[in-house]
């Protein structure tokens, strides 16, 4: 039932007294505000207020213990002369640009496998989903460090398969970031569940018709499945993009908070944390946070803007 229908049904009872209808509407409005008041207070006190404060702090020198000192755009200027900052930008961009597409592809692949009416589907679905529930937790990051340790399980398996001299997954600057990307890809569960829900909604007749016309598996995927899933691809892409830019826990735990070896896993947020809470450069950290917010907004905006060219909605089909 649409909202319009509901309103039509509601009006007859409200009709007899028109003036009371007005006050009732106002009363409803007040009640509405009262109901959202707790949320509103939270949003202002815990989100908007601190955000405004952090914007202001980004123009100050602030060591947390003495009063902030206004220094204009100096923090922003300093950032671009800070080679560790630039390194953290590079590390984060590589992490986002590699881990997000890989993760989505993997999620889609698994969702399609699970959608084939497997026996014990629920079990598999739960098993695959669990990592993404635990994924950003400290425990998993510690587990990851142990798995990829020099005498960890991964090296033992590889050596059993005949690869006796595998790279140092976590302590070689050339591989450490890749190991964290694998960790991110392994947390494919939540996009997978969303894809699975989307696959369930694609009408079977489409495939039947395609088969009657002689279309093979690949054409079916590219002409039916993928186009109809694009809204969900967009949704997952946006969420994963935002999440990856803010990744913190895996790098913090795996590198012992250093972003090491030699800054090879110095994620943006990790450097932000080091500057803010390690060096007490709160203003500098606030400036970093705002640049990150703007960059995420640009990326997200770009994805939304481009979506009109590649996202297909069923209700627009002609």
């Amino acid at each position: 039932m649409t909202a319009a229908q509901l309103r039509d049904q509601a009006t007859p009872s409200a009709k007899p007294a028109k003036r009371r209808g007005m006050t009732q509407r106002r009363r409803e409005a007040i009640a509405g505000y009262v109901f959202i008041l707790p949320w509103l207070l939270g949003a202002i006190g815990l989100t908007l207020g601190p955000m405004a404060a952090s914007l202001w702090l980004s123009f100050t020198r602030y060591d947390l213990l003495s009063a902030p000192k206004w220094i204009g755009v100096q923090n922003y200027v300093n950032l671009f002369a800070d080679d560790r900052y630039l390194k953290s930008v590079r590390v984060t961009l590589v992490y986002v640009c590699v881990s997000v597409p890989l993760k989505l592809a993997f999620a889609l692949l698994l969702a399609m496998l699970l959608n084939r009416g497997l026996r014990g589907l629920n079990l598999y679905r739960a098993a695959f989903y669990v990592p993404s529930l635990l994924g950003s937790s400290v425990a998993i990051a510690i587990l990851w460090r142990q798995l990829f340790d020099s005498d960890g399980v991964v090296d033992k398996i590889l050596s059993g398969l005949g690869w006796h001299n595998p790279p140092d997954w976590l302590t070689d600057p050339h591989y450490a970031l890749s190991t964290l990307i694998i960790l991110a890809v392994w947390e494919f569960g939540s996009p997978m569940i969303i894809f699975l829900a989307g696959l369930r909604q694609i009408p079977r007749e489409f495939y039947e018709a395609a088969r009657v016309d002689g279309a093979g598996i690949m054409p079916q995927f590219f002409k039916i499945t993928l186009p109809l899933l694009t809204p969900l691809v967009l949704f997952n892409l946006v969420l994963q993009l935002i999440g990856s830019f803010q990744a913190f826990t895996p790098a913090y735990v795996v590198s012992g908070g250093s972003g090491g070896p030699v800054d090879s896993t110095l994620f943006y947020t990790l450097y932000l944390y080091q500057q803010s809470f390690g060096n007490l450069h709160m203003g500098y950290g606030a400036a970093m946070a705002w640049i990150l917010l703007v960059v995420i907004a640009i990326f997200t905006g770009g994805v939304f803007f481009s979506s009109r060219y590649w996202v297909f909605y069923m209700d627009q089909a002609r």
């Binding site: 302590t171 908070g257 090491g260 932000l272 917010l293």
Partner: protein, 434 residues
């Protein structure tokens, strides 16, 4: 399927929320303030491992039993993250009443007036007459008592004595120089089982570098908190280790990185049996020994230059928050911690060698052999060391991280010693100037 409008609306809202909230919200610390009235609640914070937590908690409950009106709320964490947490709590006005202080931080904390001057309790509630002078002096800044040392330690060289004996050698002489140490390692290395290195790589550790620099009569910092070492000092230091590395005498860069990432005692190459020598604070002797079957021995760091480079450091101190209203209860607790016979027996040498002579005499008969060895080491060597009088400046913490990065960049990123040293100097200057 979703309609376009619904989708865009939920999508945009979800993404805005997801983007904004976690990053821009500040996280708050543990709430402060102890309740009034006759009941006193004290917050106690320290860093350290499980063994320390166990011992400290036992002493705390002992104190609570004897002082019914006092209860404690304990918070402890690993060294990593401890100062970040304290600073955040301090900003919220809730620094714990009693906090474990480090010599690297006492300078900046007193400069910001965050600590309570305990001078008025000195010699009264807190009796310090029989206290080791050098330890007492370290907790005293500008003539005021800001911290009471919980134990002294010295940067030292620890080794796996069993492995040395199995290799048919004896531990190095106490007067070993850096050069002699290198040739000793090269002899030892030939007799070690495959996969065991002669020494840990401690080139990225500031306390070891400090020993090296002080041996030429200098200090790391000037009294007004500037850098007192030169780029050449750094280059020579890193070169010494690069030469050892080239000869395969110390662990690989990758192993050193793993050690740094792990950060626990269990993760060190000495405890894992992958290297024979390492260098760290002397109170780690017992901490490592309880994790190992092999016997651990200890000697002074190699000598060099004209002067002693090592010094007796207060390994940890109890400091009091400037804002506390319970200073007299706290003073009682601190005195209890360093003098009560039952308490000091529980604590042993886990935090280093106690400053109080009475306490040392009291616990000596009860000690395990490795702890007795620590006291002997202390008695034999503390007179040979050279006291450190300058305080570490704010920013010395990040400089330690920069040293680790510089040291790692040589084996792991193929940097030259000269460029790693130059980079370190640049980072160090930056950490102090801002």
């Amino acid at each position: 399927m979703l309609s376009r409008r619904d989708f865009l609306r939920t999508g945009a809202a979800a993404s805005a929320a997801a983007a904004a909230i976690p990053i821009l919200d500040a996280c708050s610390g543990v709430a402060g303030g102890s309740g009034g009235g006759s009941a006193v609640k004290l917050q106690l914070a320290w860093w350290g491992g499980n063994d320390r937590a166990k011992r400290t908690q036992q002493v705390v409950s002992l104190f609570e039993k004897k002082h019914k009106k006092v209860t404690f709320a304990n918070q402890f964490s690993a060294w990593d993250g401890y100062w970040q947490k304290l600073d955040t709590e301090a900003a919220g006005g809730g620094l714990p009443d009693i906090l474990q202080m480090d010599m690297g931080y006492i300078g900046q904390y007193t400069k910001r007036d965050q600590l309570f001057d305990m001078s008025k309790y000195q010699g009264k509630t807190i009796s310090l007459d029989d206290f080791d002078k050098s330890q007492l002096q370290q907790g005293t800044v500008d003539g005021k008592l800001y911290g009471v040392s919980l134990g002294g330690n010295i940067a030292a060289t620890l080794y796996n004595q069993t492995m040395i004996e199995k290799a048919g050698m004896t531990p190095p002489a106490p007067t070993t120089t850096w050069e002699q140490f290198a040739s000793y390692l090269s002899k030892l290395s030939k007799k070690l089982p495959h996969g065991v290195y002669a020494a840990d790589d401690t080139s990225g550790e500031i306390p070891e570098f400090e020993t090296w620099v002080r041996q030429s009569g200098k200090e790391l910092w000037t009294s007004d908190g500037k850098i007192a070492f030169t780029e050449n000092d750094v280059r020579e230091w890193l070169q010494y280790w690069a030469d050892l590395r080239k000869s395969g005498l110390i662990i690989t860069g990758s192993m050193a990185a793993a050690e740094a990432q792990d950060g626990t005692n269990q993760g060190t190459v000495l405890v894992k049996g992958k290297a024979v020598f390492t260098s760290t604070w002397s109170n780690f002797l017992g901490q490592y020994q309880i994790l190992m079957k092999d016997k651990v021995g200890m000697m002074r760091n190699p000598l060099g230059g004209k002067q002693a480079g090592d010094y007796v450091k207060a390994s940890q101190l109890w400091s009091t928050s400037a804002k506390t209203e319970q200073s007299s209860d706290i003073a009682q607790f601190i005195d209890f911690f360093i003098h009560d016979p039952a308490a000091v027996k529980i604590l042993g040498l886990e935090r280093g060698v106690p400053g109080s002579a009475k306490t040392r005499a009291l616990i000596k008969p009860t000690l395990k052999p490795y702890d007795a060895a620590q006291i002997d080491f202390f008695d034999n060597n503390s007179g040979k060391t050279r006291p450190k009088t300058v305080l570490d400046p704010a920013g010395s913490g990040p400089i330690g991280d920069a040293m680790t990065r510089a040291a790692q960049s040589i084996p792991l990123s193929g940097k030259s010693v000269a460029s790693a040293a130059a980079k370190f100097m640049e980072d160090a200057q930056k950490a102090l100037s801002s």
